[in-house]
Amino acid sequence: MLHPNTMKYYSQQDINICVVIDAGNSVVLPDCKVSINNNVLFDTTVIKSQTLHFVVGLLDPISIEVELKNKKYSEKSRDTEIAIKSLTIDNFELIPNWTYLACYNNDHNYQNPTSVLPFNGTWSIQTERPFYQWLHVVQKQGWLLEP
């Protein structure tokens, strides 16, 4: 049995996620949906910069999705976009240095690492394992032994 205090201490830890988006240079404002672990945090037109917070369990794999939708590819909407200004998981900032870890599935098949979304589609990033194990790997911290 774990000591009760120890159990409490180690079981009450969370991961804090913060996403900041804005409409960039858009004339026609973009429709955007942001979700984390299937929880929708935002799903409407981006009128002003949005700072979105979410908390997940320490051991929960994390899935973050930012979607630009309903963009009409007209001259007027040419600059419509979503800019992911910041994405922090605890104190780890992914923008701009780690954008290559994200996948951007879009209707123009644009593949380059980016944090600006000018095409309809979903920018997503998944840890697929507890965040700090994932961080160890992406930061190339060497071996991560498994029992």
């Binding site: 180690y10 060497g142 029992p147």
Partner: protein
């Protein structure tokens, strides 16, 4: 019950084990005091019994936050901002000291810590990370070494009366023990890393035998190996075996690129040592081995330590010293008077300042990351500056230094005065040299 103390917790006893030259088992390669016991019968069963059962007390101490006297070398390193073995081992299971609580709970080994806490420290795991001291067979008499790790020094010490005792027989002289050990490795679950030390690894027959066996059992494709060599010998057949492994960490033992290296690592010759370093660098180019110059700075080599850093920096290889020299006490850097320590610290600091590496307060624990090698070298150099300035004064050992080196010099027919500058002459003579 777990009552983890982040200041001294180490996960090493859940995945690491160390065999000393005599076959004595230890729970850690950095372990200060030996608390294992000699197995008269090094069978697979006994290896596992030691790891899973006898190391339970160490695991329980870790889980209960107890201070473990055998771990003091790591704490000394941490006090001087040198990367400790404990920090390296923590990182291997995803735990970082600067974010201990969250990374501890997220560790790949967390459930194993819990299980052990419920079973009085027992684990069902097998070692994944070994240090294997093959024996003391060695062709060198390094003055800071010990008979346990050098057969030549053992003979010399006995001849000149430093000791009457000879070290115990090498465990690898027993071919059955080697066979049992290879069998254990073959059956190991999640085996990851084997680090071999001698004596001199390249000349010890068991090194070649174990490498050959690992290859024949196809383990060379899945595990990493490391070894340390003294740069005075070359055996192409061993090199040919090594190049078959998926990853090799090579430690090249050298104190400095100055003739005093010959005095310290007697009877090596610095020109030959440098040529051998180049040969290893050539071998290591294609398979992309990880190479480190391994040093054990003493009061005589610290003056020239920057030659090691400079070589490593230029060639993009690492520098590694497992700890600050403990024994022989009379060769420690802090036996030097403070004015020389300050001078040598200043020399190292000037070398650091000459490099255009962005200064960072962040510790680089994964010193095997090729992208961070230069930053790591700088950090390592900084730890020696701090040690030189902060370590307690031990000038009272100077008389022992003189006594020790004079005994060796009488046997070897050399003199330290041929290798050192006037600043050393003064202190040696003032202490009765």
């Amino acid at each position: 019950m777990m009552n983890i103390n982040p200041g001294n917790f180490c996960p090493s006893p859940w995945f690491h084990m160390h065999i000393q030259p005599s076959g004595k088992l230890k729970f850690c390669r950095w372990q200060h005091q030996s608390i294992g016991h000699l197995e008269s019968d090094l069978t697979q069963e006994n290896f596992l019994k030691y790891f899973q059962e006898e190391m339970s007390t160490i695991r329980m101490d870790m889980l209960q936050g107890n201070s473990i006297p055998a771990c003091t070398e790591c704490f000394t390193m941490e006090n001087h901002n040198k990367i400790s073995g404990r920090e390296s081992q923590l990182l291997k299971v995803g735990i970082k000291r600067d974010n201990f609580d969250k990374t501890f709970r997220s560790s790949t080994f967390y459930n194993e810590f819990v299980k052990s806490s419920e079973k009085s420290g027992h684990t069902d795991l097998w070692p994944q990370d070994w240090q294997i001291d093959l024996g003391n067979q060695c062709n060198s008499n390094c003055i800071f070494c010990s008979p346990q790790y050098s057969s030549k020094l053992a003979a010399e010490f006995r001849k000149i009366g430093i000791t009457n005792q000879m070290p115990l027989r090498n465990w690898t002289d027993d071919s059955n023990a080697v066979d049992h050990f290879v069998e254990l490795l073959t059956q190991s679950k999640k085996l990851a890393y084997l680090h071999f030390l001698g004596g001199e690894t390249v000349i010890i027959p068991a090194f070649k035998k174990i490498l050959t066996e690992l290859i024949s059992r196809n383990l060379h494709r899945s595990i990493s190996i490391g070894f340390t060599t003294n740069l005075t010998v070359w055996d192409q057949s061993v090199v040919d075996l090594l190049t078959q492994f998926k990853e090799v960490n090579l430690g090249l033992s050298v104190e400095c690129l100055h003739p005093i290296n010959d005095y310290l690592r007697w009877p090596s010759k610095i020109n030959q040592v440098e040529r051998t370093i180049e040969k290893w660098l050539n071998v290591a180019k294609d398979p992309q081995w990880l190479i480190h110059l391994r040093t054990t700075p003493t009061m005589f080599s610290i003056k020239h330590l920057t030659t090691i850093y400079e070589y490593a920096y230029k060639n993009s290889i690492g520098v590694e010293s497992c700890n600050f020299l403990e024994r022989p006490e009379c060769l420690r850097m802090n036996v030097l008077p403070m004015h020389l320590r300050v001078k040598f610290a200043d020399d190292i600091q000037q070398w650091i300042n000459s490099k255009s590496i962005p200064k960072s307060n962040e510790k680089i624990i994964n010193f095997r990351d090729p992208n961070l090698l230069k930053q790591y070298i700088i950090k390592d150099a900084e730890s020696y500056v701090k040690y030189l300035l902060d370590a307690p004064d031990e000038t009272h050992r100077l008389a022992d230094t003189i006594s020790y080196i004079k005994k060796l010099e009488k046997s070897r027919g050399n003199t330290i005065l041929d290798y050192v500058t006037s600043e050393y002459n003064e202190i040696l003579q003032s202490a009765g040299y």
